[in-house]
Symmetry: C2
Subunit: 317 residues, 2 copies
Amino acid sequence: MNTEIVTIEEAAKFLKENDNYLILSHANPDGDTLGCAFSLCGALQRMGKRAKNICADPISSRFSFMKEAVKEQDFEPSVIVTVDVADKKLLGDFESVYGDKVALAVDHHVSHVNFAGKLLLEPDAAACCQTVYKLIKALGVEMDEKLAACIYTGIATDSGCFKYASVSPETHIITAELLKYDFGFDRINYLFFDMKTKERVALEERIFRSLEYYCDGKCAIVVLPKEALDSVDTEDGNGIASIPRQIDGVEVGVVIKEKKDGWKASIRTNSFADAQKICKQFGGGGHEKAAGCSFKNMTPEEIKEKLIPVIERELNK
Amino acid sequence: MNTEIVTIEEAAKFLKENDNYLILSHANPDGDTLGCAFSLCGALQRMGKRAKNICADPISSRFSFMKEAVKEQDFEPSVIVTVDVADKKLLGDFESVYGDKVALAVDHHVSHVNFAGKLLLEPDAAACCQTVYKLIKALGVEMDEKLAACIYTGIATDSGCFKYASVSPETHIITAELLKYDFGFDRINYLFFDMKTKERVALEERIFRSLEYYCDGKCAIVVLPKEALDSVDTEDGNGIASIPRQIDGVEVGVVIKEKKDGWKASIRTNSFADAQKICKQFGGGGHEKAAGCSFKNMTPEEIKEKLIPVIERELNK
């Protein structure tokens, strides 16, 4: 793919010169891709353009407030824009329809694989919404509560509410601008960071109850049979693999989940242990801090018996 | 007390003109009062002044990195400054020694009760560290990694990592300035927001296990016997009362804790129910969203039997 790399100003010029936009979010949509899509769609509409935004997967009701930023418009789109989409594969069911027809991709993933005619990429942005904020500004569209709510949600959810290393001074400067609009950011944060569903609470209880410490407390293991996970949706199941690692003193956190055809161990490490090295011993793979491996025809007890000596060796290396 | 209200500039002028400072944090110290004390002490030392900071209660090891911002100095202090102290009572054991000798109080509590000669109060600041940041700037002291780490910790911990309604554009603008210094803010956030001690995990398991829903899931009640709390320190016990209320659909969250001489119910409400009204029925008190009441010579079951009909009435009002 011959992709032209463009600046904020060049992307804005392109958007000013065209019309009839279809904005695509990635499949399994999160706050960032949706915040980008709804705010950019709303901004284009405020310029008098025709624009709509879609996603291959259903949008969780948590994000329904974002719909207020846009108006439903009926027209035949001719210019395709993707937001926060690192690879055309991530368009899900829309890949085959739109994957090779994207005029402009706006993204912040360093791993971006070119698929669009033009690419606006800011790999240092904590959220793609940071880039979309600047794009909307370059389009000359005035910010308002509804656009600000979408952009804030993207920035907050992608940065763990400003917790992660990806946050930069610019993240906070943009957020300061957004907070001039009265959209109830604290309610958004409550919804995404403090509120737990009853199903999530039940799952955490199950996780904590099953938690066992090994290797002088440096390893924590959780076993989750299938029925513990059947009752929770994807969003409630998010971040489970990180729970054991987040315990003080734990260097290696393991979650052993039952799958259709056996068990899968997700291993997370904190500072020095190599999760990939541990999983490689069992035919698995991943990264230094996050890796996984699968086991067939074994009980969780047998899996633990196999895993613990390998983890112990990695801890004592 | 005849307290003179001063501006940032006036407070800075006072600090420039004097020397030999003793900076006091409030008892049961948190990230904000300590961040203020260590950063202001370090800033005064960088100006060539003599300064030390103390607290009536022990400082958790989580905050030990703050000590790097200051040097130990041996001298007889003559000017007392308090930071983030809303009332001289909150000086703990130091109230009797220093309570009436405070030259300058720097605070952000709207409920501040005058006790100092001069008061620099910014009730709109999300953290007192926001005000101390501006004060240090007015003193002409250059920011550095060590001061920035203290100030960031105060702002992040007092604002729930930028989650709460108290956060303003200024909070984010100051944080953007701090993030120019490479002090590892993501590690600080991990320590204060993501990491849990083994004792805290055990306590949450206990809480989730004891959790019961009433009134069509609008009320959630937790019962914690004394021995469940004996093993956790104050920091691990923080925020327990809010856990049931943070569950989706729950309007009234109740934690019934065993005390030396009976049980105490802490009631938290979300949007419309009045916690104070519920607790008043049992001789307790508090605010609309957070209140408490005590019970003697009753079992938790008997307490629930008394509480639930009152909560039900409040929910159906």
